[in-house]
Symmetry: C2
Subunit: 291 residues, 2 copies
């Protein structure tokens, strides 16, 4: 069986064709333009490839309530062309195959739990820290939906007293995670592209604090068996160890689990399926899609 | 069938006997002394009542990993008599009936989801705000466990700039929810028992902020379909409306779900099974216990 996978992102669309065992047979990328321009290209690719099922991991927010008439529709995105766009329905009607959809980060989290850095865990959180911050929360082996889907990037945190930008830069929230700790906040504090700063720059001390606060709040809220941290900011690998140490320091012995107190290096980890966690997650969703 | 239910608390033990339909047939209370004194009393009650199954909702932390040799054992509690006490095992060996255990707040959360204020929800959070703060997080209809169990009381929050006690009073964590917003923090700020303060006291403005921040962080992390707020502090019913308004204000339109933006009064609610949510939850756990 040939299974189509789509990772729909704000700047690019990544398309893959997998077999049932997860071997990537074909793949391509397209720039994300308007739905009128981009969707026919996506449909043409999957039609040519002759897929039998389709899985989609998409940027959000997206309506994931199966009972909703708008199931699979992009909702309040700042990308105006895509607002209220029925992504799942359009692809299903054009391709006439069973299809499933989730957020890009839920798809990536699912992939890391099934096949990657959190293999064997029932409960884990995958976080991507880049231009924005998003998380896939996996509980009982499945991505959490609920009222909508998690939006962990907008968790409120305690501003660091040394932070010159303690309110952060989110247009919606004062001192939320994304506003304090996504790439643009780092660049704004430093007055330079964060990618060009040395590891010794003080912005990374703040960054470790904020990402450790996030880990603490995830731990006390959903008690994950592992936290997987990915995304562009985590390419700066030395951050990982600082975040681990700071998380242990902030928890201060309260959570007496040896996974945290003694083995934090295998508790807070980087992804194993980079850079295609999301695409592999879309394949998993597609494989399990029902007509 | 007669099903025993135990809500094991730090100051009292509440014991009930239910039938299969959930009718409460008998109940009693005992003060929580040492295990040597209290456990024989609990066992005697259940033996006399002739139960066939047992459910337990207990204060924590408690080991809930079914694969663990210490499954059902109280772990790092500050109540030293009970530290490392094998609660489940002792009751199972004495009573020889199928038994199940969870935290008191997970039990109460389960009860509110199945039969109370969050009926019909797959995902919901029950929070009790009293001498301490704890939460039962229900995802996919089941309490979340994971590495341990949630400890939502220790979520880190942003101190309110007007707070005379911005670090809170938790011995483990600076500015965590419980340290900022449980009853003792209110009393410490006010210099008087919080129960005797008028609604107009400024401590309740801070309290609304902190509990609203908690609601925001729960919403962005697990996307509950409802949040149920119980416990002694919530007896001050006017707080509820302030927390609702402040949650909407803090979210600032980011989560575009009408349940929040238009119907917050039926989204953040009080328990329906007070004061026996926990005992009913223990009954549910017992009813579903397997040998």
């Amino acid at each position: 069986m040939r299974i189509g996978a789509l990772e729909a992102g704000g700047t690019k669309m990544v398309l893959g064709i997998f077999d049932e065992e997860g071997r990537l047979l074909e793949n391509t990328k397209l720039p994300t333009r308007s739905p009128e321009k981009t969707m026919p290209e996506i449909i043409a690719f999957f039609e040519e490839q002759g897929i039998e099922k389709l899985g989609i991991g998409t940027f959000g927010p997206v309506d994931l309530r199966k009972s909703s008439p708008d199931y699979g529709t992009i909702t309040a995105t700042p990308k105006l062309d895509w607002r209220n766009y029925p992504l799942l329905k359009t692809l299903q009607e054009a391709l006439q195959v069973p299809a499933a959809i989730d957020t890009d980060v839920n798809a990536a989290g699912l992939a890391e739990v099934r096949l990657g850095a959190a293999r064997g865990c029932d409960n884990a959180v995958y976080v991507t820290i880049g231009t924005g911050i998003g998380a896939g929360v996996i509980i009982g082996g499945r991505p959490v939906h609920g009222l909508m889907h998690p939006e962990v990037g907008h968790m409120l945190l305690r501003p660091n007293p040394m932070d010159p930008l303690p309110r952060g830069i989110c247009p919606y929230h004062e001192s939320c995670l994304e506003g304090l700790a996504a790439g643009p906040a780092l660049s704004k504090r430093a007055g330079a592209d964060a990618e060009n700063l040395p590891d010794s720059d003080p912005v990374f001390t703040l960054e470790s604090d904020y990402l450790a606060q996030m880990c603490v709040n995830l731990i006390v809220t959903v008690s994950p068996e592992k936290i997987v941290l990915g995304g562009g900011v985590m390419h700066r690998t030395y951050l990982l160890d600082r975040i681990r140490k700071e998380t242990v320091r902030l928890l201060n012995g309260y959570i007496q689990a040896p996974e945290i107190t003694a083995r934090i290096d295998s508790y807070i980890v980087i992804p194993e399926l980079y850079p295609i966690s999301g695409l592999i997650g879309a394949w998993l969703l597609g494989k399990e899609a029902e007509a």
